[in-house]
């Protein structure tokens, strides 16, 4: 059924279709309408979940960690400083291998205080052990939430479903609302391998020694390092499972594509713009315009940021003259994190082949600064004529 709703509602509807049993969230702009919608669904009885109001984001994730450990399917959502306030629990959830799904409605972080969109919040959580998926429209938001539960529960790794604040969260667009029975067919009820049980007391994630040890059953139990290695190993394996999720989803719902990247006019392109989230759809307008001028450009949206689909990305960018990376976040003191990761992937797979593209890094839309399409087009066009600058160039900066 096609409906027209805002992005937060798309996320809320997607969450409801997944039948979470426990929801704990603390409202923060621009995520607020999402949590309000979910509490309304619980109140009216259309979602049979326990909605636990909390006094902070740290507690919201702590509640989800406890509920997930007890075997419940859980959901939370946040933005910006709320996400940063969760930081300690974010790392905990990953180390505890809990399949929590969280929407991150991307917003700039303080200081100075700012409620508008950029992606510094989720990018700054890159190394926490969570899977990160970026959405470019409302259909992707609702579909990704559903796929995320399947994948998280498959690999026992928590997932952030990230979408741009306001640009997606508060704008209305048409999208298909999946049928409940199809979602139920795609996503079976959560059956954890292990759940807390009062009849069999156990300690989860208490002090874990640097070395392995013999447990009370006489079996060799992992040390901290083994547990952390398995998190890395399984996060890389999640790339394959993501393809499986995409395939199964396409079978049930009849839509989907490449799970990792979203290419637009890339096949014959000499220059490729790369980004995360809604900016990649805006870049399509620039690409169309430059194509009319005869410049062979394309745009590639990166959907999975962690695990990073390095091989797929290197394959897609092989032989291109230049790769132009547009980012709404920066690793202060160096460059955009995505640009660094792309360079790493290209070096890994293309070094010595003579087909390493030039990388140009642009920073745009920080703190909600309007990203004018004509400015984007100009920046993209300039990068097709050679390296603009070695340092990342901030688009629309008024200094």
């Amino acid at each position: 059924m096609q409906i027209i709703e805002d992005g937060n509602t798309a996320a809320a509807l997607g969450v409801r279709l997944c039948r979470p049993q426990v929801i704990a969230a603390y409202p923060i702009t621009p995520q607020t309408p999402l949590t309000e919608k979910l509490s309304e669904y619980v109140e009216e009885g259309s979602l049979a979940a326990e909605y636990i109001p909390v006094e902070s984001e740290h507690s919201a994730l702590a509640v989800c960690i406890a509920a997930s450990s007890a075997g419940s399917r859980v959901f939370t959502a946040t933005s910006a400083n709320g996400l940063l306030y969760m930081h300690e629990q974010i790392q905990w959830a990953a180390g505890a291998r809990l399949p929590i799904v969280m929407c991150v409605v991307n917003r700039a972080v303080g200081a100075p205080w700012n409620i508008w969109n950029d992606q510094q919040d989720s990018i700054s959580q890159r190394d926490t052990g969570w899977i990160q998926i970026y959405c470019a429209d409302h259909q992707q938001i609702i579909d990704t939430v559903i796929k995320a539960y399947w994948l998280a529960e498959k690999v026992s790794i928590p997932i952030m479903v990230c979408y741009d604040g306001y640009i997606l969260s508060h704008t209305f667009m048409p999208f298909d609302l999946p049928q409940q029975k199809k979602v139920d067919a795609f996503l079976p009820p959560f059956k954890p391998d292990y759940a807390l049980n009062p009849d069999e007391p156990a300690n989860l994630n208490t002090v874990t020694l640097p070395d392995v040890r013999v447990d009370v059953h006489g079996e060799l139990a992992h040390g901290y390092m083994e547990i952390r290695y398995l998190l890395q190993k399984d996060t890389r394996l999640a790339l394959q499972e993501a393809a499986q999720a995409e395939k199964r989803f396409a079978e049930v719902f009849g839509r989907g594509g490449d799970p990792y990247i979203e290419p637009y006019l890339c096949d014959d392109a000499e220059y490729i713009a790369v980004g995360l989230g809604s900016i990649t759809y805006q870049l399509r307008v620039c690409v169309d315009e430059l194509r009319r001028e005869g410049i062979k450009v394309g745009v590639m949206g990166v959907r999975y940021y962690r695990p990073f689909p390095d091989k797929v990305i290197a394959g897609a960018l092989k032989g291109k003259k230049a790769v132009i990376v547009f980012e709404k976040a920066i690793s202060y003191g160096y460059e955009g994190a995505l640009a660094s990761d792309l360079k790493s992937a290209l070096y890994e797979y293309l070094a010595g082949t003579g087909s390493l593209p030039v990388i140009q890094n642009y920073i745009a839309g920080i703190g909600g600064r309007e990203i004018r399409t004509d400015n984007l087009t100009k920046a993209l066009k300039a990068a097709t004529k050679g390296r603009v600058a070695q340092e990342p160039v901030w688009i629309g900066l008024k200094l």
């Binding site: 026992s156 007391p201 300690n203 994630n205 208490t206 139990a221 998190l231």
Partner: protein, 104 residues
């Protein structure tokens, strides 16, 4: 240990001796049970076992006499504190280290 995949990938432990690993050589004092004062020993009856109940490492056996598994005992002294007849005293490990040396 369960068969679940999840359990093998996380830090999971159950109540029992060794939950926190072997003690190693750092224990400062070890409990010594005076059987002349210990209730189950004195009466030759399964009684009291307050030490067994309170031991946080679960390394004291419910037997006559109660036996402390020194591989895992951390020397916390809770058993000595709780013993109603003061049958347990905490003894400096240095004494045993000295005795061991003499044996060698």
């Amino acid at each position: 240990m369960g068969t679940g995949n999840y359990r093998r990938k996380t830090s999971h432990s159950e109540h029992g001796p060794g939950d926190g690993g072997s003690t190693g050589s750092w224990r400062v004092e070890r409990p010594f049970i005076d059987e002349a004062l210990c209730i189950p020993c004195r009466r030759n009856k399964e009684a009291c076992f307050i030490c067994w109940l309170y031991c946080p490492e679960i390394v004291i056996s419910r037997t006559i006499p109660p036996v402390v598994d020194l591989e895992y005992c951390k020397g916390c002294g809770i058993c000595a504190e709780e013993c109603p007849t003061k049958a347990i005293t905490m003894v400096d490990e240095a004494r045993f280290a000295h005795d061991n040396k003499k044996k060698e």
